[in-house]
Symmetry: C2
Subunit: 221 residues, 2 copies
DNA sequence: GTCTATACGGCGATAGAC
DNA sequence: GTCTATCGCCGTATAGAC
């Protein structure tokens, strides 16, 4: 039925390089800049070769989305295991990661007119949400009292959604009240999830786990 | 400097029809479906004529965005004047409007790779935010006590942003915790903004101002 | 398994005919 | 005010070289 076209191996180094370049391209110029010719130029190969590994652009986007979200999920699980006493801070930081949020927003936009992306986005989001909501539910008494009617799901929705919306707005140049919101959240985090070293010299938050700098290779960040 | 190309009159009826069709096209199939050929086919004219009125696709998108956001702002101002005692409910309803939110999300996505859209989106968002934040600030004592550190700006951010994020997620098929969040918000609205008829027979919210149904012509909804 | 060359129809955009 | 012709770039498909 489906075309018996030949496709490059998933373990190919070239394939990984193409994915790296595509990711960079999306971050720099938006998903619309992802064309066979652009991706090929970035990697110094021909367009046909890109097509050899990714027969359609959907295949390329999908591979990229999967690679990125698998890495993200791993990162999330590692952090939750490493700092079991502050899941909410981890959730906030996880959803504040600029690179991932930027990429995810591009994919969300892509989802509007590429069905294959839509279902995959829904799937990976559900997976990530489940991990996070379970982490909150496990220590729910700690958070339950903070607002009447609050559930693990709704708290997670806010903590996952608000930073993404802030990043989205910032990307078009709107920053109204973002600072206020940030203060509000940090205040809330301090109250429901006091850190082991309760007071620092500054009002600064405890350091991020890792620099969010863009590495060229995909398995981190 | 700029090209001295000929452009159709802004008052043209054909022009308005083209805008209507484009809006419909975006809602049905995403902004990527907006091509001269598609828009022309929908209106039963030739692609060249569409280009006569909108020399570039940017011009078309921009005209659409302006028309829609002007209408929205008018609608918002009218509602605030009509029900001066419940600005927060109005803000929530305003940002929950499906058609507008869907359109705005498409434009937000578009903004990622069309600079002209980006700046216009920022501009209209700022205008709408200002109207809303002023409405809240005017009766701030009523809301100030609900959470420590809450400011008109941050409350508005949440009330404007949360429903949009819910609609965005729903559009890709995610509904996790949305019901919980909705309950939470309604509970909050009831507490800080009790309606004049304080208790109904049902738990139902007071009726929406207007059906959000899609009209063919753009000056409403 | 990897990679190149070439072809096709649809696209945005431009210039200019009617 | 309306419409056609044309240009260069796009995704995609295929055939075949190494």
């Amino acid at each position: 039925m489906a075309s018996p076209r030949r496709v490059g191996a998933e373990t190919s180094k070239t394939r990984a390089t193409l994915l790296d370049g595509t990711e960079q391209l999306i971050l720099e110029a938006g998903y619309a800049a992802v064309t066979y010719r652009n991706v090929a130029a970035k990697a110094g190969v021909t367009g046909g070769l890109v097509q050899y590994y990714f027969p359609t652009l959907d295949d390329l986007f999908l591979a990229l989305l999967r690679r990125r979200s698998d890495a993200n999920l791993e990162r999330l699980l590692a952090a939750l295991e490493e700092r079991p006493d502050e899941p909410l801070r981890i959730i906030w930081e996880f959803n504040t990661d600029e690179t991932s949020a930027g990429l995810m927003m591009e994919f969300l936009a892509l989802a509007n007119h590429r069905k294959s992306i839509r279902s995959e986005i829904a799937e990976v989001t559900r997976r990530a949400r489940k991990v996070q909501v379970d982490a909150l539910a496990a220590r729910w008494p700690q958070y339950a009292s903070s607002a009447e009617g609050l559930s693990p799901g709704s708290l997670l929705f806010l903590m996952a959604t608000v930073p993404k919306m802030m990043l989205l707005e910032e990307s078009v140049g709107i920053a109204a009240a973002h600072h206020d919101v940030l203060r509000l959240v940090e205040q809330y985090l301090d109250s429901v999830e006091p850190t082991r070293a309760p007071r620092r010299m500054q009002t600064k938050r405890p350091a991020k786990r890792k620099s969010p700098a863009r590495r060229r290779h995909g398995s981190s960040t």
